[in-house]
Amino acid sequence: MASDTLTSTARADAEISGLDALEIAGRDKELSRATRIWAATWPKLAALAIAILAWQIVVWSGWKPPYSLPGPLTVGRELVAQAQGPQLWEGLLTTLRRAAVGYVFSVAVGLLLGLAVARSTVLRAAIGSMITALQTMPSIAWFPLAILLFELSEKAIFFVVVLGAAPSIANGVISGVDYVPPLLLRAGRNLGARGINLYRYVIAPAALPAIVAGLKQGWAFSWRSLMAGELIVVGISQTSLGAQLTYSRELSDAPWLLSTMIVILVLGLVVDAAFGAADKAIRRRWGVLDQAGQ
């Protein structure tokens, strides 16, 4: 019987991996801050190293000519050169400003649309399914309409961005509202929350995880729409990341294209970190992150 038990113990330990490990993450708490930062960092560094190494090996293998597939070193040098000039930064600034404005608009429209559709049965029946349909419409299809409505201004770009991102955010809201536990809804109503208060005190916080997921997807949509939309009109003396991406491709400048992609990826990582932090905060509050105690 003794050996039996030992076996079971060993098995149990082996099984405590993956999600199970996550679940008993409580013990991580005792680890020092430095250890935790290192634990979060080394896999990223390792992944980066592996990716670069693999890339370099493919380049060394001579599979494709260097002007078609430049090595990490070439791209790195290009990136450094770009970073030293003003153009990259100006373009980045323009694009980030547009991204911020466009995203804020999209969030406002998406949240309102989502709430309206989730709240009203008639609206849901009328335009609910339109939301997903709109989401599938490629940005370029909106360009003529954008120009028609806003001529060649930045507003046209925002229009395309909002049409790209708002449906996705609205869908997040709708899905979140749909899955609010009925018990909490009833509790809220019994506590005197009606109308807007029910949203403020119960539905919005309960739907928050799904809303954040929708906001994240919405960011991706808005960013992609922006990259396309920035080509509607390229400022005469104003560069943008979207323009750089397209022109680097049109000029078949592989190192430039790749370095622009790296810039986009880095931005994506930064934004993801923000969303990740928000999500983690929610999960901690809800008690689903630190699943050690229940």
């Binding site: 002007y67 078609s68 120009i147 009109v233 750089q244 049109e250 078949s252 430039w256």
Partner: protein, 327 residues
């Protein structure tokens, strides 16, 4: 600040804004130089404000003209015809030419004649566009068949020019009939010129860029259009007389817009294949259309009324240059 809100066919009173579109591209050299060197601004005078807009491709420029967001634009022959025919001859007029030539069939090493193209893939910028028609017509003359769907003796693969360089270097296509600067770029990627399109045309001239104005603007502000055409003539004068400076200006302009100046070497390489002429070479446009009809890519289009060259001829006359024939 739109040009179209002041009525009256005579002249313009008060300040007018001219919204002018062009591509930061070597085939649009007069436009780039005209804007960069202040030639347009000078000719337009104090009463007209120039609002230049750059585009990446034709459709957006035409959409802008159609919707009244743009008053004039430099553009290729294909969008010109589309804009004219889709608006039933209403929306636009060509008031001047800008550039000719700069198109070639670039092939891989080992292809030395039309017959070698049998079973090969040839890229063109877009199904039914000028180059697409040209290659199909040329192949037909060589006794080779093509189909719209990419079948026949030679497989025509329409794709974006940007992609053509990728596919050419990766070996996915064997040849491409493209405009500059892609010709030069393909040459640098190991291709060679099999056909220079200039050789297929009388006087080695065919339109690659012309200047389009919206009919509405033309009616409202003929004086401004005249000044614009004056500017175009002056810009071409500059481009042809100071190529070095023009080339540098193009490189810089592209740098400002895209974030990276265009390689001067590439511009210099492409330069001789282009001719910057004020003649819109209307005959080449018409012939191109006939060819398109012949290879069954379009229905016949009536181009009557597309050209309004009175302003151009006035400008040329003032400079003592030979006038062009109004078609």
């Amino acid at each position: 600040a739109c040009g179209d809100d002041s009525e009256g066919a005579g002249g313009s009173s008060g300040p007018v804004t001219l919204r002018l579109g062009y591509f930061p591209n070597i085939t649009h050299a007069p436009a780039v130089v005209g804007v960069e060197k202040g030639i347009f601004a000078e000719k337009l005078g104090a009463n007209v404000k120039l609002d230049p807009k750059t585009f990446n491709a034709g459709p957006a420029a035409i959409e802008a003209v159609f919707s009244g967001a743009l008053d004039a634009t430099y553009i290729g022959p294909n969008p010109t015809v589309n804009a004219f025919s889709k608006s039933k001859g209403e929306a636009v007029r060509v008031v001047s030419g800008a550039a000719s030539g700069g198109v070639a069939l670039v092939v891989k090493a080992g292809i030395n004649g039309p017959q070698d193209l049998k079973g090969k893939k040839v890229a063109t910028p877009q199904l039914g566009n000028t180059q697409d028609v040209a290659v199909r017509y040329w192949l037909k003359q060589q006794g080779l068949t093509t189909t719209k769907e990419g079948g026949g003796d030679v497989k025509i693969v329409p794709q974006e020019n940007a992609q053509t360089v990728e596919t050419f270097t990766s070996g996915a296509i064997d040849a491409a009939w493209v405009p500059e600067p892609f010709v030069s770029r393909l040459l640098n990627a190991g291709g060679k010129v099999l056909v220079d399109e200039r050789d297929l045309w009388p006087d080695k001239k065919f339109v690659i860029t012309n200047l389009l104005v919206s009919t509405k603007f033309l009616k409202a502000h003929p004086d401004v259009v005249q000044k614009l055409v004056d500017g175009q003539v002056a810009a071409n004068e500059f481009v042809n007389s100071k190529p070095e400076e023009a080339q540098q200006a193009i490189s810089d302009a592209i740098g400002k817009i895209t974030g990276k100046p265009l390689d001067l070497k590439l511009i210099k390489q492409a330069w001789p294949t282009l001719e910057f002429t004020n003649d819109p070479i209307s005959a080449s446009l018409k012939t191109g259309l006939d060819h398109a009809v012949e290879v069954k890519l379009t229905e016949p289009v009536d181009l009557k009324g597309l050209y309004d060259l009175t302003y151009l001829n006035k400008a040329l006359k003032a400079q003592g240059k030979p006038e062009v024939v109004q078609p």
